[in-house]
């Protein structure tokens, strides 16, 4: 009997090479058979199944639903540093523009969609949460002179979401800890102790992401990746990709060295322009795009 149990266990190990769902189905069948043969008890079977689920779960990352909840709290922390701008005109426009751009990304559908909000600050700054919340300061909007240039800013933030940079900001040990807590979850609702562990782990995750977003900034590589996604989005949506260069040129002139905003968290605009290896937009922008930009953002410029 012991030999048979061993065979089942080694076979289950082999099954890891098949898909996760297949592993779980096969595990259920294998353990059912083993229980029927009296090789293992029902309790042992249940334990093997839970173990396999935990293994396949730990190989995955957060679900879009979990990223959404992470995003909400990351956003709430951003809003302790910056106040929302209560201005329906600009917020409606930024949402219309931003959601149009999101549709041109590789990830047009997030758990609760993309949402944009202007922040009431002269700082030049923008943030994107893993849950699809995008914040852009009035100061950054002021750097853009056309719809195409503002589109470039929003597309860069969408780029961070598409490439899952927020989640990558979580320290490896924290991520492992969080996923371990999540894998231990029961079928029913959490007990108090699990809930405390989960919310502590949640707090750590939020703190890692917001420290990166607000204080340390992403790596240069991530910023260049987000710029590359922005160029793709702009091109797909019919905007002039060179608008990103225009935008960066203005930022380069306006950023205050040593400031606590983009100056601190991003590579220099000059370095980003060099990395893009493309020239500024020179072609005419259709009048309707010029007009609607001025109508929505003119009072902020």
């Amino acid at each position: 009997m012991k030999k048979f149990t061993l065979q089942i266990i080694s076979f289950l190990a082999l099954l890891i090479f098949c898909g996760c769902a297949a592993v779980e189905t096969a595990t259920t069948v294998a353990t059912d058979i083993a229980v029927q043969r009296g090789t293992i008890t029902k309790e042992q079977a249940a334990s093997i199944r839970t173990g396999t689920t935990a293994v396949s779960r730990s190989l995955e990352e957060f679900t879009p639903e979990q990223e959404y909840y992470i995003g909400r709290s990351v956003g709430a922390v951003v809003l302790t540093k910056y106040k929302a701008l209560n201005d329906a005109k600009i917020n409606s426009y930024v949402n219309l523009l931003g959601q149009t751009l999101a549709l041109a990304s590789d990830t047009p559908e997030l758990f609760a969609g993309y949402h944009f909000l202007v922040l009431d600050s002269d700082d030049i700054n923008a943030f994107a949460t893993p849950g699809g919340h995008v914040f852009v300061t009035r100061g950054l909007i002021r750097c853009s002179r056309t719809e195409d240039e503002l589109a470039a800013v929003l597309a860069h933030e969408i780029g961070h979401i598409q490439r899952r940079h927020g989640i990558s900001a979580i320290q490896k040990a924290r991520m492992a800890e969080a996923l371990a807590v999540l894998a231990r979850e029961g079928v029913k609702t959490y007990g108090d102790e699990e809930l405390i562990k989960l919310s502590n782990s949640f707090g750590d995750v939020i703190s890692d992401i917001t420290t990166t977003l607000i204080n340390n900034g992403y790596s240069r590589a991530y910023e260049y990746q987000a710029d590359a996604v922005a160029v793709t989005i702009l091109r797909r949506a019919g905007y002039q990709p060179g608008a990103l260069v225009n935008m960066l040129q203005v930022m380069g002139r306006q950023i205050k060295p040593g400031g606590s905003d983009f100056a601190k968290t991003h590579p220099s605009p000059q370095a980003r322009i060099a990395e893009l290896g493309m020239s500024a937009q020179t072609a005419q922008i259709p009048n309707v795009r010029k007009d609607r930009f001025i109508k929505a953002a003119g009072h902020l410029l």
Binding site: A26, I33, S56, Q99, P108, E109, E147, L195, V288
Partner: protein, 163 residues
């Protein structure tokens, strides 16, 4: 010898199950967003045939770029790949899905882990956080018609069309 043969049969049966389970997951997927739409054409501006809720199971009939033509109950329509996952999603009590129940041992995800309950607990210990504007920004609504007008007036295009 009989023992050996029975083991071979057992392993063969398991391998078959493994393969068929893999094939099945490729054909059927779950909606991993709050709600997605089955559309008449592979485009975000395509006419909405029906909406499918979080956790709904759809069968993949055809693929074109990032778009998948799916069957959901008696409905047929195009869904963007980013709203689907190969995982099964078990919904918690209170949420419904038209696709029926999901057996134990399959992956449970919906409403678990980092959820509203965990957020509430986190907020209770971080009272300086204010979610008013998070909720407000999530309520900003943009309709397909608005996007369609915005795109056509601005001489733009919807970059992510299938076909």
């Amino acid at each position: 010898m009989a023992r050996y043969i029975s083991l071979v049969i057992f392993l063969a049966a398991l391998s078959f199950l493994c393969l068929s389970a893999t094939a099945q997951t490729q054909k059927t997927m779950s909606v991993q967003v709050k709600q997605t739409q089955l559309r008449a054409t592979p485009s975000h501006l395509g006419k909405i045939v029906v909406r499918a809720p979080y956790g709904a199971r759809v069968t993949i009939l055809e693929e074109r770029g990032d778009w998948k033509r799916t069957a959901y109950g008696s409905y047929r329509g195009w869904v963007h790949a980013s709203s689907l996952t190969t995982k099964r999603i078990i919904l918690t009590a209170g949420q419904t899905s038209q696709t029926g129940t999901v057996g134990q041992g399959e992956i449970a995800l919906a409403g678990k882990g980092f959820n509203k309950e965990v957020e509430n607990r986190y907020r209770a210990t971080n009272k300086n956080l204010d979610y008013t504007w998070i909720n407000r920004m999530e309520a900003f609504d943009v309709t397909s018609e608005q996007i369609e007008n915005f795109v056509s007036e601005g001489r733009l295009s919807l970059g992510n069309e299938g076909g």
